[in-house]
């Protein structure tokens, strides 16, 4: 079967054009052209039935999936989020390869996103957080010299892990981008530190679009 049927009418118009205009009153050419008139009649019933079918599908309970399907989809998504990457809550010392406490990358990202959303009019599209692996070494504090301590009082003077956050945002058309960016940076640092307990040392902001208020 040909994939390119001849759909040119004798008057030179294409059936596609007739179909595209089928929901509108005939234009000047169509009012007088017998070929277009016939084509409109031929396609008119199909067009009205198609429109009815399109509308009816939307409200037909027989064409809704079993609610259990959504449950199964979300079960898989939840299981895979739980297996996602984890950050150490505290920066590990050189002699301590395995961090004791961790937080999921997704939890850090969600906290930073909420912080961005909290700034008036801002919507965070994406937020990616990355661990700063080679930040400046932790300060050495306390009577024991900080990180080298082990033993019963081994809750050493540790430093929270450091992360960088990159946010892609949309802002109101009326927003002053420098002031919004400053507010977001402050909000992200404060909120992530409070909610998750890691330090955000850098916040990159990309304004992707503007939106109406």
């Amino acid at each position: 079967m040909s994939e390119h049927p001849s759909s040119r009418l004798a008057c030179g118009r294409d059936m596609d054009a007739v179909w595209d205009r089928i929901g509108s009153p005939p234009d000047e050419h169509e009012r007088t052209c017998p070929h277009c008139g016939q084509a409109r009649r031929d396609l008119g019933e199909l067009a009205s039935l198609t429109a009815l079918e399109r509308d009816a599908e939307l409200h037909d309970p027989a064409l809704e999936p079993d609610p259990a399907v959504l449950g199964r989809i979300m079960d898989v998504a939840r299981a895979e989020v739980r297996r996602g990457r984890r950050f150490p809550l505290d920066e590990p010392a050189d002699d301590e390869p395995a961090p004791e406490l961790t937080v999921s990358e997704q939890a850090v990202s969600a906290s930073a996103r909420r912080a961005g959303d909290a700034v008036a009019g801002v919507q965070v599209e994406r937020c990616v957080v990355t661990l700063v692996a080679d930040g400046p070494r932790p300060r050495s504090t306390g009577p024991t010299g900080g990180f080298a301590v082990t033993g019963p009082d081994s809750y050493r003077q540790t430093r929270p892990s450091q992360v960088e956050a990159a946010l892609q945002i949309t802002v109101p058309v009326t927003a002053s981008i420098p002031s919004v960016a400053a507010e977001i940076r402050s909000s992200v640092r404060r909120r992530v530190s409070r909610e998750v307990g890691v330090d955000v040392v850098r916040v990159d902001i990309e304004v992707r679009d503007t939106h109406d208020v």
């Binding site: 999936p65 989809i73 990202s109 965070v124």
Partner: protein
């Protein structure tokens, strides 16, 4: 709300507030609530598409589940957030076409119930023809049944292109993307499907 530059179109059913691109971005970051919102939003349209293409409720539900899990896993690789709509349709369309090709290789009849959509159409008499007299309503219902029967008779590729265009209102480029066909082939298949349907409907008058 949508992007003032037209880059973030809203889709039917999208509540005011967050644009779809924003919800997609959040789901990319692993936000389960955002992904659930996308799944709720698309499960109906995708299921209806699969039922049309596969004529089998069970297989359509499997296709929906596989599609949304694929969406979840591949979301981080989607760079153009506003293209999500066409991308989801592409995954579902290709999944369905793969099922149809497997059926064809087995050279068996479709496992689907050919009368499934007939039954669906019959249930719509009241809502679609309110105010008409019973005879006219019956005739209209019969014509709708005819449309569904003729649609089911179309070759799979024609039916897929037609359904994506006329029932799901995808653009020609979106359909070309979904079916992995050149734009000219998509136009040809839709035109051919239209001719076949119009001709087939004559018998139902």
């Amino acid at each position: 709300m949508s992007g003032s530059h037209g880059e973030h179109p809203r889709h039917p059913g999208e509540p005011p507030g967050l644009s779809e691109a924003t919800i997609v971005g959040r789901a990319q970051d692993g936000d389960l609530a955002a992904f659930e919102e996308l799944s709720r939003r698309y499960q109906g349209p995708l299921f209806r598409l699969a039922v049309r293409l596969l004529s089998d409720r069970g297989e359509a539900e499997d296709a929906l589940q596989d599609t949304m899990i694929t969406v979840w896993r591949k979301l981080p690789s989607l760079t153009d957030l506003p293209a999500f709509h066409g991308w989801v349709y592409q995954i579902m369309t290709r999944r369905c076409m793969s099922v149809l090709r497997t059926r064809a290789r087995r050279s068996t009849d479709p496992s689907g119930d050919d009368t499934f959509l007939d039954g669906v159409g019959r249930g719509r008499l009241g809502s679609g023809t309110g105010g008409q007299d019973p005879a006219a309503a019956t005739e209209y219902a019969e014509q709708l049944r005819g449309l569904n029967a003729e649609l089911a008779r179309l070759p799979d590729e024609q039916r897929a292109c037609w359904v994506l265009r006329e029932l799901h209102e995808l653009s020609y480029p979106e359909i070309a993307f979904a079916t992995n066909l050149p734009l000219s082939t998509v136009r040809g298949r839709i035109a051919r499907a239209r001719q076949n349907l119009a001709k087939g409907m004559e018998a139902w008058r």
